[in-house]
């Protein structure tokens, strides 16, 4: 049976640069990041090239993705949040495209590596911190002091708020990483059953129908998860950015 972990292996394709003792490589992960950026850019730039008043199919999809993210920001962070529109849109499209590319057989899923999701989540976290202090100064600390709380439990609440704020990048990144990792392992394991049973004669082939059906079903589920996790990532980004824009609620 094939190793279900093997699909997450980073493969060095060619070296790019050497920083200190660290060799920077162009890896399969990097290749899929480049592919994702290329796909997104071609999709958006080709889709908006005709600038039709009445959009065609491709332009409709482009406008749909634009309006989708724009509405998500407006509904969670208000119209002030639109200054972060390019950031949230890039995050959403990047995560979505990378997730979907990873579902194609024999491809690599960039978001199944914790370093990628942590970096994306930290970029959100740092944006919230930097913009929060830049916009609100020390009033940003109001975020940790909810209004209308009795004074004797306030210290406890503040501690809880600070911990929950600091743990945001962890939950933000692990949610995406774990979903993609677990989904791909599940797919691989069930697909492994199909080949294992298929090599065990006629009875085995008959028995392989069940895991094959499951693989099909899980693939459909993973398509949903790929979209949903990208959406969740973008929505949480909006909610966190909303704290930076309106820390007093």
């Amino acid at each position: 049976m094939a190793d279900p972990i093997h699909q997450f292996q980073i493969v060095n394709l060619f070296p790019v640069a050497k920083v200190g003792d660290t060799q920077i490589m162009f890896t399969n992960s990097a290749a899929f990041m480049v592919a994702a950026v290329t796909v997104i850019s071609i999709f958006l730039i080709a889709g908006s090239a005709s600038r039709s008043l009445v959009p065609g199919r491709l332009q409709s999809m482009v406008e749909l993705s634009y309006e989708f993210v724009a509405n998500a920001i407006r509904s969670t962070a208000g119209s002030d949040g639109m200054r972060f529109f390019p950031f949230v849109f890039s995050l959403f499209m990047f995560v979505l495209t990378v997730n979907l590319l990873g579902l194609i057989p024999y491809t690599f899923t960039v978001t199944s590596h914790i370093i990628v999701t942590v970096t994306l989540a930290m970029s959100v976290f740092l944006t919230v911190l930097v913009y929060g202090f830049y916009k609100n100064g020390l009033h940003f600390f109001n975020l940790f002091v909810p209004k209308g709380i009795p004074i004797y439990i306030l210290p406890l609440i503040v501690v809880i708020e600070v911990i929950s704020f600091l743990s945001r990048p962890i939950s933000h990144s692990v949610r995406l990483f774990a979903n993609m990792l677990a989904g791909h392992i599940t797919l691989k394991v069930f697909a492994g059953f199909v080949t294992l049973l298929g090599s065990a004669g006629a009875v085995g082939i008959a028995g392989a129908v069940l895991p094959l059906g499951l693989v099909v079903a899980i693939t459909a589920l993973e398509l949903l998860v790929a979209f949903l996790q990208a959406y969740v990532f973008a929505i949480l980004t909006c909610i966190y950015l909303n704290d930076a824009i309106h820390p007093g609620h």
Binding site: M33, S41, L44, S48, L53, V62, E63, V110, S112
Partner: protein, 178 residues
């Protein structure tokens, strides 16, 4: 592709380490993620999103303009209809006035001509009545003479002698009175 290349460089990373937690792969992934994401962000912020936003904005503006133009045309056509109806109502009122005036004038004329005709007829009637009365009086006077002569003749024939004129006249008068 991944499988074949992997076998070429198998000992590159820590062995037996779960690949997503292999720290030796982190620097390369980090560099490429930052690089590709920065390019993506720049493309989105500078090229794609302003363009798509512009398309959507243009469409909203165009639709709003068209709706405004349609509203203006509608208002104009309503004004034209109102003006037409006003002109129609005025014309109708004027026509009624003219008709009423004409009717009154004709009625007045008819009344005058009827009156003159009536007056003329009355005059003629009065003349005729006067003539009749005169004729009647004349006839009555003649009747008395005839009656006196007739009575005188009848008495003469019956008695063979002429009666006195005065007696005959008084007898005739008595007979005429009764």
């Amino acid at each position: 592709m991944a499988t074949s290349t992997h076998t070429e460089v198998p000992s590159e990373h820590g062995k037996g380490v779960f690949p997503p937690f292999d720290p030796t792969t982190f620097p390369s992934q980090l560099v490429w993620l930052i690089l590709t994401f920065a390019i993506l962000y720049a493309l989105m912020a500078k090229v794609a999103l302003p363009r798509i936003g512009g398309i959507i904005e243009d469409r909203h503006k165009r639709v709003a303009d068209d709706v405004a133009a349609a509203g203006k045309l509608k208002a104009e056509s309503e004004a034209a209809v109102a003006a037409y109806e006003k002109a129609l109502a005025e014309a109708r009122a004027r026509a009624q006035v003219i008709a009423a005036e004409t009717r009154d004038k004709q009625a007045a004329e008819a009344e005058t001509s009827r009156k003159t005709l009536e007056d003329q007829l009355n005059i003629k009637l009065a003349d005729a009545e006067k003539t009749i009365a005169a004729t009647k009086q004349k006839a009555m006077a003649e009747v008395r003479g005839i009656a006196t002569d007739a009575a005188k003749a009848i008495v003469e024939r019956l008695t063979g002698k002429a009666p006195a004129d005065a007696a005959v006249s008084s007898a005739v008068d008595t007979a005429l009175k009764s």
